[in-house]
């Protein structure tokens, strides 16, 4: 289990290869990559700056991974989240979950991402032609996380 918050980009192929190496129990790997869009709330986005709370961010993601492990068979998990200034088409976040079977890998990957969006202390500021603006939290993200409360393993 691994959590990294970094400015550098990441390579999904290298990360999956590293996770698979030497672990014959893995039968399924699910992954998610979040990417910067060029339009948000109807305005074009030139760049985006991500701020975080060093220490708490890593701790909260580790807690989310632990919660996923408590609900599904997770053999390994990795979350990489970038901070600093990013531009459209840049990768922001990577989640990789390894399990014996696909059902657990898919569900745990989506759960980790849904909880990360509503729990992990990151904040996005977009630079648009109108200037800088902090991104507002979305009710749809809250609902995406809440639906897991009713899902029993």
């Amino acid at each position: 289990m691994n959590v990294r918050v970094q400015e550098q980009d990441f390579d999904i192929s290298a990360e999956i290869a590293a996770m698979r190496a030497g672990n014959p129990k893995i039968g399924a790997i699910a992954s998610f990559v979040g990417v910067v869009r060029d339009v948000n709330e109807g305005d074009s986005v030139a760049t985006m700056t991500l701020e975080h709370y060093p220490g708490m961010t890593e701790k909260s993601i580790a807690t989310i991974i632990d919660q996923a492990r408590g609900r599904w068979e997770v053999l390994d998990a990795l979350v990489i989240h970038r901070v600093g200034t990013l531009k459209p088409t840049d990768q922001i976040v990577l989640v990789i979950v390894a399990s014996a079977h696909r059902g657990d890998a898919f569900a745990a990957c989506e759960f980790i991402m849904d909880y990360l969006k509503t729990q992990a202390p990151f904040w996005k500021k977009e630079i648009t032609p109108q200037g800088g603006r902090w991104v507002d939290a979305r009710a749809t993200d809250e609902r995406a996380a809440e639906r897991w409360e009713d899902v029993k393993k």
Partner: protein
């Protein structure tokens, strides 16, 4: 002393990212600390007002208004998160 941290939109509005504060007598919960900071007036009164949707953490764990405070704590206030 406690260490106070402010993030994102809140940090910009207050013009401060962190400060050290001697906990005044009677300021022993997160709600009381927030009310104490609001008494500074100006941007503090606006941003720390009860109606403002702020989140908080004590020693890097999510906290609620009733969370108790003690000397040496790290207390953070921030807007709802928007990562991912």
């Amino acid at each position: 002393m406690i260490r106070l941290l402010y993030f994102a939109r809140l940090r910009e509005a207050l013009g401060a990212g962190s400060e050290a504060l001697e906990l005044p007598k009677g300021v022993d919960t997160l709600a009381r600390l927030r009310a104490h900071l609001a008494e500074r007036g100006g941007a503090w009164a606006v941003e720390m007002a009860p109606a403002r949707n702020l989140r908080a953490a004590v020693n890097q764990d999510v906290a609620n208004p009733e969370t108790s405070l003690k000397d040496g704590d790290e207390v953070a206030f921030f807007p709802p998160v928007t990562g991912g």
